[in-house]
Amino acid sequence: MERIFSRTSALYDVPMHYCPGCGHGIVHRLVAEVVDELGIREKTIGIAPVGCAVVAYDYWNFDCSEAAHGRALAVATAIKRVRPENIVFTYQGDGDLAAIGTNETIHAANRGENLTVVFINNAVYGMTGGQMAPTTLLGQKTTTSLDGRQQGKHGYPLKISEMLALLPGVCYVERVSLHTPQEILKTKRAIKQAFVNQTNNLGFSLVEVLSPCPTYWGLSPREALDWVRDVMQKEFVLGKIK
């Protein structure tokens, strides 16, 4: 029998630590598939964030570095400048990329660093137990916004992708989602584009992935996917931003 589907070599065959219904496992796999399809596994260097995906290097079969919380794009900048022949990407959550690391994010983008960014937006701090994130929706309850996020107290969900798209150094920004198999395929296409852009020296590419966090949304895995479809994507509109 002809084998038409198998585990991709850039992803180790080990159990992942993520909660049931979490999006990280899917996106880890998509990144690994893209790396293998582009034949760049042996020259790829990934930067893992601080957050739920901190041990992404336990799952990816290529060189990786950790970075301090929020500093992934500073670390990536230096690695890419020292080794322009390598393919360097960061994998960051919303707290990492859009709160504590906003400065590093904006300036790496503004310098037009030739990097790829996979940005996981799950509207909450997962690893620390479900606190309010910069991307938490208005009305969304978290352990630090008990009555739901209120614009008067907490400000609005931060649309950092739209902000980054304004910068001339940024060549590509797309927001995608994981809530159906079709959307997952679109996510893979976007991630591939962001890597291809780097191999073509086009500058800074970012893919924002709306990703379910059933544990801290207080929903079942299925309900969490529906929440992305029915609620989250209304605030964070899908599609190519730049």
Partner: protein, 357 residues
């Protein structure tokens, strides 16, 4: 850079500031990555790097913050570069996060602190009040930096090269600890003519996993017992550094009844006092720690009731604690220090010594 002087004494020397000498020493040592953020009084260093590092084949980045600069150094070092950053006290406080990660990931790197007055924004006057921060690690966790304290522009040039070699050898971050006077002061410097030896390979560095298993650069050890195991490994390396890398200069220790203990700029003032008192027949000596960590404890082994130590600092007594630990009650230890822009002057020091003699 000022061109070579004509006099024989100055032949093959150039007149540069301490800040420029550190930058020139770094490039001579093969530094191929620098990231920094402007702050007085170390701006000549970043400017020198911007001008000279790219033409030497290195990467220069003006970072958006000290946090970014030190994380860039982390990344560059992880990718196998000889990486450096520089700053002054408030900026070095910001860098502590990254320094802790560099220590935790066992990355070699050189950090320069040209100290100014603190706490807070303080002022831009020279100071030695970051001694505790430098010699105790400075950030979170059980780690150390190798800390070298030059007292002349020539030594700033030479020790910068040493710091890169030590950082690579032990895979620990190294710090050059100077002050605003050393950074700004100009002196003739003899540049080394020799080419650096080929650097040892870094098989742990990130380069893409072609032909080998993936390398991981990290400081996260979640499995039970793993972090303790790792910390013990670090401690082993620190013990070796303590044993092998203590450096100091001493003068007239043989018959000295009062030994001045000072580092960096303060040691220059101490030397001046020493030579005046020696010509007056007074039995004064000098002990100048060059490595602040490891602290040259063995230099104090001869301490006995006949010797008295006078510790001089541009702080209110930080190295003083290390001297007391080294002397361990075997001899009298006195202190003279000022901080916040004031520097103990020769008259004041001489008066204290005369009382002690």
């Amino acid at each position: 850079m000022i061109k070579n002087q004509k006099s024989e004494k100055l032949k093959n020397k150039i007149l540069i500031s301490g800040n420029e000498a550190i930058a020139a020493g770094a490039i001579q040592a093969g530094c191929n990555f620098y990231a920094g953020y402007p702050i007085t009084p170390q701006n000549e260093l970043i400017a020198y790097m911007a001008k000279h590092l790219p033409s030497s084949g290195g990467v220069f980045i003006q970072a958006e913050s000290e946090l970014a600069a030190i994380s860039m150094v982390y990344g560059a070092s992880a990718a196998g570069a000889r990486a450096m950053t520089s700053s002054s006290s408030p900026g070095v406080s910001l860098k502590q996060e990254g320094i802790s990660y560099i220590a935790g990931a066992q990355l070699p790197a050189v950090i320069v602190n040209i100290m100014r007055g603190g706490p807070g924004l303080g002022n831009i006057a020279p100071s030695q009040s970051d001694y505790f921060q430098a010699t105790r690690g400075g950030g979170h966790g059980d780690y150390r930096l190798i800390v070298l304290a030059p007292a002349s522009v020539q030594e700033a040039y030479d020790l910068t090269q040493t710091s890169f070699d030590l950082a690579d050898k032990y895979r620990v971050p190294a710090m050059i600890l100077g002050d605003g006077i050393l950074g700004q002061m100009m002196e003739p410097v003899r540049l080394s003519a020799k080419k650096i030896k080929p650097l040892a390979p870094k098989p742990w560095a990130l380069s893409g996993c072609q032909g080998r298993k993936p390398n991981i650069v990290k400081s996260f050890f979640l499995r039970e017992g793993a972090l303790e195991e790792f910390n013990l490994k670090l401690q082993k390396s620190y013990a070796l550094i303590r044993e092998k890398e203590a450096r100091f200069e001493s003068l007239f220790l043989g018959d000295a009844r009062v030994v001045l203990v000072a580092y960096g700029t303060m040691a220059r003032i101490a030397k001046s006092v020493l030579s005046q008192l020696r010509s007056a027949g007074k039995k004064v000596g000098l002990l100048r720690p060059i490595s602040l960590w490891p602290f040259p404890e063995n230099a104090f082994r001869a301490a006995n009731k006949k010797t008295k130590y006078l510790v001089l600092e541009m702080s209110y007594g930080q190295m003083l604690e290390d001297v007391k630990l080294a002397v361990n009650g075997a001899a009298q230890v006195e202190f003279c220090g000022r901080s916040g822009g004031g520097i103990p002057d020769e008259e004041e020091i001489t008066r204290i010594i005369r009382k002690m003699l």
